[in-house]
C-alpha cells in the first residue's frame, strides 16, 4: 500500500498521455497526417535505427578490442572511452556545427590550404539526419561498449581455448562465439541507446529535423493543442514500449547466458602496426566524441569569457545546481521509500507499482513534460474556478509552471537511476546482517543507523550524484515546465544556440560537461573495482 500512492503520482504523466487517446482530435490529426506526420514517423525511425546500428557495431567492436588485446595505452583508453557519456547530445551537436561551419576552423583551413573560394567545393552538411545520427552515435556508443565489455569478461577463458582448438581464428571466435553469447547484453545496450535517440530533442531541433519530439513541441506551442500533443506522445510511447520490451527480454536472457567458470582474462599482446591500429581505433571515438568538441567549447568559452563570466552566469549556475540538488534529494527520498518497501515486503502489490514506475527512464522527456503539464494545468484551472465561484478569490497557477512540476517530471524520468543505486546497495546488506545485528543487541532503529547507514552511504551519494547530473543535462522537460523567466545552464545553452550564437552557448555547455564528468569517473571506478574483485576471487 505504501508504494501504490507515490507510484500512482509518478505514473500520472504517462497515464494522462495514454488516456488522451480516448478523446481523438480528428481535425488536428487529419492536418498532421496530410502534412508532417509521415515525416515524424520516418525521421524518428531512421534516427532510432541508425543510432541503434551505429552504437551496436562501434560499441561491440571497441569492447572486443579492449577485452581481447593488450596494447600500449589500453588501460587509459578503456577509461576514456566512457567519457562521451558525460556529453549531452545537443552540446556535441552545437560544437560540431561550429567546427564544420563554413566559417568554422576546418573549412577555413581547407580554403586556405587549397585556395578554394565559396561554392568551389563540396562539404558534408552536419545539420542533417545523417549528422544527427552521427552525433548521437558518438555520445551513445558507451552504453553498448560498457555492457558488451562486461559480457565478454564474464565469458570463460576456456571458451576461447575451445574455439581455437576447434580450429577457429580469433576473429571467427569473435563472430561465432563471443558475440552470440554477449548478444543479450549488446541488445540491452542498443535498446537503451535507441531509447535515448527517440527521446532526443536538443539535437534534432537544432538540426531542423522533424521528429516526434520536435513535432510534439510544435503541436503544443504552434497549434496550441495540448491534447493532440499528448496523443502524439502516446504514439511515440508505443515505439518506446517496443524498445522497452526488447530491453527487458534481453536482460532476462543475460541471466541464462551467464556462464560461470574462470573470469581471469588473458589478453593477447599486440605490437607494431596491429597495436597502432587498435590504438587509433579506440582513440578515434574518444577524440570525436569528447576531446574535439570539448576543445571547440573551450575555445569559444575563452573568446566569450569576458562578457559571460559575471554575476548573471553565477545566478544561472545557482539556478541549475540548486534545482538539480533539490530534485536529487527528493528523488533519492522516494527511491529509499520504494527500495525499503520492496525489501520488507514480498507482496506483489508493493513490488509491481515500483517496477512499473521504474520504467520511466524509457519515456522521452518531452512526453513526460506534456503528461505533467496537462493534469497540472487542469488542476490549477479547476481549483481557480472553484475558488472564484465560492470565495471570489483567484488562486492562479498553483502547481503548473512551478518547481513542483519540474521535480515531478524529473522524478518520473530519473527515479530508476536512483532506485537502481539504492537497491544495489541494499542488496549487499544481506537479511542475515540485520538478524546478526538484532541478536547482538540492536533495536530495529539501531540496525538502521549502525549497519544500514554506513553500508548504504556510498550508494546514496552515488544516486544523488547521478540524478544531479542527469537533471543538469535534461533539456526538453525543463524547457516546457520551467517557471517563467527561470533559466538554467541547459536552457541558456539551448537559447544561445537557437539564436545562432554558438560561442555564447559554450560557457554554460562546458559547465554542464565538467560536472557531468564526475559520475563517469565514479562509474569507471566501480567497473574497475568489480573487475579487480573478481580477479582476486579467481
Amino acid at each position: 500500500m505504501l508504494t501504490i500512492g507515490p507510484a500512482l503520482v509518478l505514473a500520472l504523466p504517462v497515464l494522462v498521455v495514454l488516456l488522451s487517446l480516448l478523446q481523438p482530435q480528428w481535425q488536428v490529426w487529419q492536418h498532421l497526417a496530410e502534412t508532417v506526420l509521415s515525416d515524424y514517423v520516418k525521421n524518428s525511425l531512421i534516427l532510432a535505427f541508425g543510432v541503434g546500428a551505429g552504437t551496436l557495431v562501434l560499441g561491440t567492436c571497441l569492447a572486443w578490442c579492449c577485452h581481447h588485446y593488450e596494447f600500449w595505452g589500453r588501460r587509459p583508453l578503456q577509461w576514456l572511452l566512457l567519457l562521451p557519456l558525460a556529453m549531452p547530445a545537443y552540446i556535441i551537436a552545437y560544437s560540431y556545427t561550429g567546427l564544420l561551419d563554413f566559417a568554422g576552423p576546418l573549412q577555413t583551413a581547407l580554403r586556405e590550404v587549397f585556395g578554394w573560394g565559396y561554392g568551389d567545393y563540396w562539404f558534408p552538411e552536419i545539420r542533417s539526419l545523417h549528422g544527427a545520427i552521427l552525433m548521437l552515435v558518438l555520445v551513445l556508443y558507451p552504453y553498448v561498449f560498457m555492457l558488451a565489455k562486461t559480457a565478454f569478461r564474464e565469458q570463460s577463458q576456456s571458451l576461447l581455448e575451445v574455439s581455437r582448438v576447434a580450429g577457429l581464428s580469433p576473429f571467427a571466435h569473435f563472430v561465432k562465439v563471443a558475440v552470440p553469447l554477449a548478444r543479450p547484453a549488446i541488445l540491452t545496450g542498443t535498446a537503451l541507446a535507441m531509447m535515448e535517440a527517440l527521446a532526443d530533442y536538443g539535437t534534432v531541433q537544432y538540426f531542423g529535423i522533424s521528429t516526434f519530439t520536435t513535432g510534439i513541441f510544435r503541436t503544443w506551442f504552434g497549434l496550441g493543442n495540448g491534447l493532440a500533443a499528448a496523443q502524439l506522445s502516446a504514439l511515440l510511447c508505443s515505439f518506446v514500449l517496443l524498445l522497452l520490451l526488447l530491453e527487458r527480454w534481453s536482460r532476462r536472457k543475460v541471466r541464462y547466458f551467464h556462464l560461470g567458470g574462470q573470469h581471469q582474462v588473458k589478453r593477447v599482446p599486440a605490437s607494431g602496426f596491429k597495436a597502432l591500429w587498435l590504438w587509433l581505433f579506440c582513440a578515434l571515438p574518444v577524440t570525436l566524441g569528447f576531446l574535439l568538441p570539448v576543445c571547440m567549447l573551450i575555445h569559444w568559452a575563452w573568446l566569450t569569457a569576458e562578457g559571460h563570466w559575471n554575476s548573471r552566469f553565477l545566478a544561472l549556475a545557482w539556478n541549475s545546481f540548486s534545482l538539480a540538488a533539490l530534485a536529487a534529494l527528493v528523488i533519492l527520498l522516494v527511491a529509499l521509500i520504494f527500495a525499503y518497501a520492496r525489501r520488507l515486503s514480498a507482496s506483489r502489490w508493493v513490488h509491481a507499482p515500483v517496477t512499473l514506475v521504474a520504467m520511466g527512464y524509457a519515456i522521452p522527456g518531452t512526453v513526460i513534460a506534456v503528461g505533467t503539464m496537462v493534469p497540472l494545468v487542469w488542476f490549477d484551472k479547476t481549483l481557480d474556478a472553484l475558488m472564484q465561484s465560492w470565495l471570489g478569490i483567484s488562486t492562479g497557477l498553483l502547481l503548473s509552471g512551478t518547481v513542483f512540476a519540474l521535480i515531478l517530471a524529473y522524478a518520473v524520468r530519473f527515479l530508476a537511476v536512483a532506485l537502481h543505486q539504492v537497491e544495489a546497495g541494499l542488496e549487499r546488506i544481506k537479511p542475515s546482517m540485520d538478524q546478526a545485528g538484532r541478536t547482538l543487541g540492536l533495536s530495529p532503529q539501531g540496525v538502521l543507523t549502525r549497519i544500514h547507514l554506513p553500508l548504504l552511504t556510498p550508494s546514496l551519494l552515488g544516486a544523488l550524484l547521478l540524478v544531479f547530473v542527469d537533471v543538469l543535462k535534461e533539456l526538453p522537460a525543463t524547457l516546457i515546465l520551467r517557471p517563467f523567466n527561470f533559466d538554467t545552464l541547459a536552457i541558456r545553452a539551448y537559447e544561445m544556440a537557437s539564436d545562432e550564437r554558438l560561442a555564447d552557448a559554450a560557457l554554460p555547455a562546458l559547465t554542464i560537461l565538467l560536472v557531468g564528468i564526475f559520475p563517469v569517473i565514479i562509474l569507471s571506478r566501480a567497473i574497475e573495482k568489480a573487475t579487480s574483485m573478481e580477479t582476486a576471487d579467481a
Partner: protein, 336 residues
C-alpha cells in the same frame, strides 16, 4: 535451558513445522539434522525471535519468550547466532565485528574479551583486517567469536560449515565443540550433514517434512532408529523385507532373534552386520569403494536385492566375485 513445546510454523498457508518439542539442558549442545527444506532453519529463526509461530511455546532459562501472546524482541533474548553466510559487517574490522555486541566498547574489559576470543579462534593477529580480506574459514571463526563475545545464554548455529570445504569442516567442527564446552554455553546447531552433527552435538533431533522423527544421542539414532526415515537418513544400511515363520522373524539373510515384537515389515541391516564367509546366502559383488582400513562393497543377492557390506581393507575382493553372506548378529532393528 531451552525448551520447545508443540512448535508449529507456517508461511502463509504452507505449514513448514508441525508440533515439534524438545529440550536442551544447561551447557548441552543440541542439533537438528535433516534434509534441506525440512523446516530446521525455521525452528532456529523462531528461537531467535525472527519468526512468529502459529502455535507452541519457546522457553529460555524457564522464561517464556515466544507463545501466542508473547514475542520477545530478538535483541532481548540473550542469544548468539552464527549464520550460514557468516553475515560479517563489511564496514567494520575483525576486532570491531567481534566487539559489536559488547556493551561498553573501548573499555579495558571489552578489549580484553575481544583479544581473548580472537586468540581462542586463532585469529589474534588479524584483528585489524576487514572481512573481505579473510578466507571462508577465517570468516567463520570471526562470526563465531562475534556471537560468543556478549556471553549469550544460547548459541544458535545455522548450517555454519556448509560454505567450507570438507577438511576444514571437520577440524572446525571439533574446535567449535571444544570452545562451546570451554565457555559453558548451550548451543543448537542446524545441519544436513550427519558427520557434522555427530562431531559436535550431545543430542540430535532428526527432522523430516517439519516433524521431529527422533531425539536422542548419536548412538541411539544409529543403533535404534525410531522409523525407516531415520534409519535411511542416519548412517548407511539396507532395509530388508521380513516375514514370520513359526513365530520367529525371518529376512532373506536368515532368522532373527527378536521375538517380542508383534508388528514389523522391514529390518535394518547395517554394513557391519553382515559377514562375508564360506557358507551362507550366495551373492555377487557389484561395486567396491576402497576406503583404506576397510572397503564398502555393494553386493547383489540372487533375487536382485542389493545391500552394502563392509569388509577389511586387506581382504581381497573384486567386482563379479561370488561370495556367501551371513548375519553377524540376530537382534536387528525391526521397523514398521
Amino acid at each position: 535451558m531451552l525448551k520447545i513445546d508443540g512448535l508449529c510454523l507456517a508461511y502463509g498457508q504452507h505449514q513448514v513445522v508441525s508440533d515439534v518439542s524438545f529440550a536442551i539442558p544447561n551447557g548441552g549442545i543440541g542439533c537438528l539434522l535433516g534434509p534441506s527444506g525440512c523446516g530446521k532453519s525455521s525452528i532456529l529463526r523462531a528461537i531467535a525471535g525472527f519468526e512468529r509461530p502459529v502455535a507452541g511455546e519457546i522457553l529460555l532459562h524457564e522464561r517464556l519468550v515466544t507463545s501466542n501472546e508473547t514475542m520477545l524482541a530478538p535483541e532481548k533474548r540473550r542469544i548468539g547466532m552464527v549464520f550460514q553466510d557468516f553475515a560479517l559487517f563489511p564496514h567494520l574490522t575483525v576486532a570491531q565485528n567481534v566487539s559489536f555486541g559488547l556493551k561498553d566498547k573501548g573499555s579495558g574489559a571489552s578489549q580484553a574479551r575481544v583479544e581473548q576470543l580472537l586468540e581462542m579462534v586463532g585469529m589474534q593477529s588479524l584483528g585489524k583486517r576487514y572481512s573481505h580480506a579473510l578466507s571462508g574459514g577465517q570468516q567463520q571463526r570471526v562470526a563465531l567469536a562475534r556471537a560468543l563475545a556478549p556471553k549469550p545464554d544460547l548459541l544458535l548455529l545455522d548450517e555454519p560449515f556448509s560454505g567450507l570445504d570438507l577438511e576444514l569442516r571437520e577440524s572446525l567442527a571439533s574446535q567449535v565443540r571444544d570452545i562451546l564446552k570451554l565457555e559453558g554455553i548451550s548451543a543448537l546447531l542446524v545441519t544436513h550433514d550427519q558427520n557434522e552433527a555427530f562431531a559436535i552435538a550431545d543430542e540430535i533431533g532428526v527432522l523430516h517434512q517439519g516433524r521431529l522423527q527422533q531425539w536422542g544421542s548419536a548412538q541411539a539414532l544409529y543403533e535404534r532408529p525410531a522409523n525407516s526415515m531415520v534409519a535411511g537418513f542416519v548412517g548407511k544400511g539396507t532395509l530388508l523385507p521380513l516375514w514370520q515363520e513359526s513365530g520367529a522373524w525371518h529376512c532373506v539373510l536368515g532368522g532373527l532373534g527378536n521375538k517380542d515384537i508383534q508388528k514389523a515389515s522391514v529390518c535394518l541391516v547395517r554394513p557391519e552386520d553382515v559377514l562375508m564367509g564360506d557358507d551362507g546366502v550366495p551373492a555377487t559383488i557389484v561395486s567396491i569403494s576402497y576406503q583404506g582400513a576397510q572397503s564398502l562393497c555393494r553386493v547383489a543377492l540372487e533375487d536382485g536385492t542389493e545391500l552394502l557390506i563392509r569388509c577389511h581393507g586387506r581382504q581381497f575382493v573384486q567386482i563379479g566375485q561370488a561370495v556367501n553372506l551371513t548375519l553377524n548378529k540376530t537382534d536387528l532393528t525391526l521397523l514398521a
